[in-house]
């Protein structure tokens, strides 16, 4: 049978049914007589259907359902034998034959059983509150929540089914066979009739579906509905039914939108934060710039006093020491202020790396010369392994500042008689490493060392004070070059700052 399935039915199977091997397929003629069958009938039916017998003999829910008014038509969660719930799909084939698909819904049916029971209990309660209405069993929609309306014109239709419970609550004055103006009860039809009229004008059997709209049943209780405009045997119908899938759709849409809202909020906060950081950097830049003049003025006075030997001779040793201290502290303040100014400008992006070819040997030699005074003061030896010169492409001023800062840092944390070296390796990539035999640092500190705000920045081995900003500036300049910098260190075993330069 599977080989003889028509293309449109195969398409329906693939597109509309779950990838489930346990589907029972029954083929019937227009009178509902079984012609063919494929699949595990025992899973769905108590007896094996005999060819030529009516399908409703085996599944009473299919009584008067073939031919279906709408194709495809899906009967949800029908109990096809004592223990199995199935979705039954009725699909019209191209050659006046009808295909019935049974899809096992047992697992799902079990999970929603309690909910259904509650709904049914509520319905029973509603039914008992109302006058009993005789059911119209001739309508194929009598077993559903469909409201079936036979359309005479857009202002007048006839209720062609029994009244579903939801409609009884929504519009209690209507009974079966009553005349009704659909647009009056459902203003939504003001627009759906435009589409429906266009469809009906073609006078072709078929249906179109409306969008979803919501009606208020009772205060605080809404019901989502959708409608079909049907044309069948030269008659226009409107079928209105509760939209069962709306909850699922709402949940997934809600999730997607909540996520989008959260993302928008995050983006906004990030923008705000960036703006605040920029304000901070601008503020620091302005303050440090403006502080430079008064600090330099006080430093000038301190310097003048230190060098005025005549006046100094009048003071005792304590005051002379005080004046020297003022000068030293003002020098430190000026250095800190300069670094702060430099840092904030780097943060603001107020610098440009202009790379040029330069001799590495010359750069190391210049950095050594700058550090010499400090090296000598602590009797620290300096060495480098670089013998043959290497040409590198750097911004000379900025890169020299990097080496100056790294050397100053190495000297600061290396005790007297220690050693500092610049080691260059050229394979596989170029690495310039500043190595010291100093006090090293714990891992926790080294992880945060380039942030520019290393809180644990400590005094040097000779009481040298630092700003904690130096390595932050180094990192910014290295990043600006597109190079890398890492640190390897262990307490008591010295440190290595490794600059990586891709060739």
């Amino acid at each position: 049978m599977l080989e003889s399935l028509p293309q449109d039915i195969i398409k329906y199977l693939v597109d509309e049914l779950p990838p489930f091997t346990g589907i029972l397929i029954v083929k019937a003629d227009e009178d509902g007589n079984v012609i063919d069958m494929y699949g595990p009938h025992k899973d769905y039916l108590r007896d094996k259907p005999e060819f030529g017998e009516k399908i409703h003999e085996y599944v009473p829910a299919l009584y008067s359902m073939i031919p279906p008014l709408v194709s495809p038509m899906v009967l949800n969660k029908i109990k096809s034998n004592n223990s199995v719930y199935a979705d039954i799909h009725l699909v019209e084939g191209e050659h006046n034959e009808y295909w019935v698909f049974f899809v096992d819904q047992n697992r799902e049916a079990k999970s929603i059983r309690q909910i259904i029971q509650k709904i049914n209990a509520d319905r029973l309660r509603i039914e008992s509150d109302k006058t009993k209405v005789q059911t119209n069993i001739s309508s194929p929609f009598s077993v559903f929540d469909y409201l079936n309306l036979k359309v005479e014109n857009n202002n007048k239709s006839i209720i062609n089914s029994n009244i579903p419970p939801w409609f009884r609550i929504l519009a209690p004055k209507y009974s079966e066979n009553d005349s009704i103006s659909i647009s009056e009860v459902f203003p939504y039809f003001e627009v759906f009739f435009i589409e429906a009229d266009e469809f009906w004008a073609k006078k072709e059997n078929g249906k179109i579906k409306s969008g979803i709209w919501t009606e208020t049943l009772t205060k605080g209780e809404d019901i989502a509905l959708s409608a079909y405009a049907v044309f069948y045997n030269n008659q226009k119908y409107i079928l209105i039914k509760p939209e069962e899938e709306v909850d699922k759709e709402q949940i997934s849409l809600q999730l997607a939108r909540d996520q989008k809202l959260a993302y928008e909020k995050l983006e906004k906060t990030e923008k705000k934060l960036k703006k605040l950081l920029e304000y901070k950097d601008k503020f620091v830049s302005i303050v440090s710039h403006d502080l430079r003049s008064p600090v330099a003025a006080v430093l000038g006075i301190a310097d003048m006093l230190v060098n005025d030997k005549k006046e100094l001779s009048k003071l005792d040793e304590f005051y002379i020491e005080m004046i020297h201290s003022i000068k030293d502290e003002m020098l430190r303040l000026l250095d800190y202020n300069d670094k702060l100014y430099h840092w904030s400008n780097l943060e603001l992006g107020n610098f440009e790396v202009i790379k040029d070819k330069a001799s590495l040997k010359k750069i190391i030699s210049t950095a050594h010369r700058t550090a010499k005074k400090r090296l000598d003061a602590k009797n620290i030896s300096f060495s480098t392994n670089l013998e043959d010169d290497i040409e590198i492409e750097v911004d000379l001023t900025l890169f020299l500042q990097v080496l100056n800062n790294l050397l100053a840092n190495a000297i600061k944390f290396t005790p007297e008689n220690g050693s500092v070296a610049i080691v260059v390796t050229d394979s596989p990539s170029l690495q310039i490493t500043v190595v010291d035999s100093g006090v090293g640092m714990p891992k926790k500190l080294s992880e945060n060392i380039f942030s520019g705000f290393a809180r644990n920045s400590s005094m040097g081995t000779d009481g040298e004070k630092g700003t904690g900003l130096g390595l932050g500036i180094v990192k910014k300049i290295i990043d600006g070059h597109g190079f890398t910098i890492t640190v390897e260190s262990e307490t008591g075993k010295g440190s290595q700052f490794i600059i990586g330069i891709e060739k």
Binding site: E190, G211, E215, T216, L253, R257
Partner: protein, 165 residues
């Protein structure tokens, strides 16, 4: 009684449903619940001693997931374009929807509502954005469904404009 159809249009989560709920039921819920499809509410207002029955079409928000069906706008006498003051991106969608309204219902009165005026300190939308809308000839009203600011005024105002047309 005169009947007038008003459609609420705008991006998702701008507060269309909340504005209608505030106006019709004097209610506000903090919880955002996305609208699926259309919800039509009714309320009668008295404008210049005339009873006007407003049919308020609360249409789901426009975004990549849901597009507004243009037929919903057909036959409308008034149209609220709702913008969230805290999300400037909702202006773009608002402007696109105004263009749709102009095509589908050219005689519809368009009023722009900039919602969430209770949290104006969080607004993204600038005075220039609002001036742009006013310069295009649209009436702009700042509202808050949550704090019940200018909600009734907005509905009365659009009713008045519809009647004057």
């Amino acid at each position: 009684m005169i009947k007038k159809k008003i459609v609420m249009l705008g991006s998702f989560a701008v507060g269309k449903t909340s504005l209608i709920q505030r106006f019709v039921n004097s209610m506000f819920s903090e919880k955002y619940q996305t609208t699926i499809g259309v919800k039509i509410d009714q309320k009668t207002v008295i404008i210049d001693n005339t009873d006007v029955n407003l049919l308020l079409w609360d249409i789901h928000g426009e975004d990549d997931y849901q597009k507004v069906n243009p037929t919903y706008i057909m036959g409308s006498s008034g149209c609220f374009i709702v913008i969230d003051g805290t999300r400037s991106a909702t202006i773009t969608i608002g402007n696109e929807l105004i263009e749709t309204v102009k095509k589908i219902a050219p005689n519809s009165v368009v009023v722009v509502l900039i919602n969430k005026s209770d949290i104006k300190e969080e607004w993204d939308i600038t005075n220039e954005d609002i001036d742009d809308l006013r310069n295009k000839g649209y009436e702009v009203i700042e509202t808050s469904a949550k704090a019940n600011e200018a909600v009734e005024f907005a509905f009365n105002r659009i009713s008045q404009l519809m009647l004057n047309k």
